[in-house]
């Protein structure tokens, strides 16, 4: 019995709409789990319910979609005119920092406690582009995104690590990347956008 067969059979149990929602988690609980995952026992129970209750799954997926879509919606669209210059200065500063610290184990990143996520230069890897950033204190998960000039998503991944491997992407020099750190307290820190251009 492969996974697909198991899934199909399980769906016959979980794909129906319950007569009442009395036993379902509240909307606020669903939103907390969707936006600030902790992995504790109470959240596990909620997620188990979501996995086996069709209407709760629909609600949960809507809530997490809203949570994930919002940050990307504002990038580059409403930035004041001075932000690109500031971002460029930040990139230069980060590159300088990496150069100065070359030889150290900076790629894995030590907690910095600074109020943004600090990106490190992308590097070529065998099967794509390796994206690295400094760890942020109390970060639960990082979301890394690669977008084109119009803000369309070309690649995204979520990880608890400070490195992600993006596949080889066409016209990478026009792409930009950023990292969003979700912290233990539910707050979010976002890095500036940086070019995906890799060193030759």
């Amino acid at each position: 019995m492969d996974d697909e067969t198991l899934r199909r059979l399980v769906r016959t149990q979980t794909g129906n709409v319950p007569a009442t929602r009395d036993d379902c988690p509240s909307p606020d609980t669903l939103q907390t789990v969707a936006t600030a995952p902790t992995g504790d026992a109470s959240q596990l129970a909620v997620l188990e319910h979501v996995a086996t209750c069709a209407p709760c799954r629909r609600d949960f997926d809507l809530l997490r979609t809203a949570h994930a879509a919002a940050p990307a919606a504002t990038r580059a669209a409403v930035l004041p005119r001075w932000v690109p210059a500031l971002a460029a200065a930040a990139v230069i500063a980060v590159v300088s920092l990496v150069t100065i610290r070359s030889g150290d184990d900076v790629l894995r990143g030590a907690p910095t406690g600074r109020p943004t996520v600090q990106l490190l230069s992308p590097a070529r890897a065998e099967s794509g582009v390796q994206l690295q950033w400094h760890a942020v204190a109390q970060a639960v998960v990082y979301r890394v995104e690669v977008t084109d000039q119009d803000g369309n998503l070309a690649f995204s991944a979520e990880t608890a690590d400070t490195v992600a491997l993006a596949p080889n992407l066409l016209d990478a020099s026009s792409l930009r990347w950023s990292v969003e750190a979700r912290l233990l307290d539910g707050s979010v820190l976002t890095s500036p956008l940086d070019s995906l251009r890799t060193p030759p």
Partner: protein, 187 residues
């Protein structure tokens, strides 16, 4: 259904920045929502909710450069949870029982459907006997969530998620075999 996001008229004369944010938000919702399996109507409703909130508070054009990421995030959270709350108030007239499914599914023989329901019940019973972490990972996996989604939802790293899904499924298969549900294609 065509998206409301794409059906809306062009941006208001004084709100181009807001419209830009809404357009971008709409694209992200469509991209992420489709991968999550959301229906078009749900995505349209969410986009429209954010549109209304942004226009209501920022639509005079005077603050268009100050539409912050935080504000859009709050608008999206607020719109999404309002949709979810509204659904809860709807009388569950569309409730559909398992028996209804059996009666109305004309593509599978009724006796086969009942047999599958019984098998599914036994599978879920076996899943519920797994250790809590594995149980959660397996339920989300069988619900169709991808590994990176499961990791994100549970706040786990990729390695832990992969291990728990893998071991949980292996554990489940062992239990199913013990229950006499020996899978023909077991791996």
């Amino acid at each position: 259904m065509e998206s409301t996001f794409r059906q809306m008229p062009g941006p208001p004369p004084s709100g181009s920045s807001i419209e830009s944010v809404i357009q971008r938000f709409g694209r992200m919702v469509l991209s992420i929502g489709r991968r999550a399996g959301l229906g078009e109507s749900d995505m349209d409703e969410l986009i429209q909710g954010v549109r209304l909130r942004l226009w209501r508070t920022q639509g005079d054009g005077e603050q268009t450069e100050t539409v912050s990421a935080t504000y859009v995030h709050q608008a999206a959270r607020s719109a999404a949870i309002d949709i979810v709350r509204a659904r809860r108030t709807v009388i569950a007239s569309a409730s559909q029982s398992i028996d209804d499914t059996v009666l109305h599914d004309r593509t599978t023989a009724p006796d086969l459907l009942i047999e599958e329901q019984e098998t599914a019940t036994r599978i879920m019973d076996a899943v519920n006997e797994l250790a809590p972490d594995r149980r959660a990972a397996v339920k989300l996996h069988l619900a169709g969530y991808r590994r990176e989604e499961i990791a994100s939802m549970l706040g786990w790293n990729d390695i832990r998620t992969r291990n728990l899904v893998h071991r949980g499924i292996a554990d489940l298969r062992t239990r199913l075999i013990a229950l006499g549900l020996a899978p023909s294609g077991a791996s």
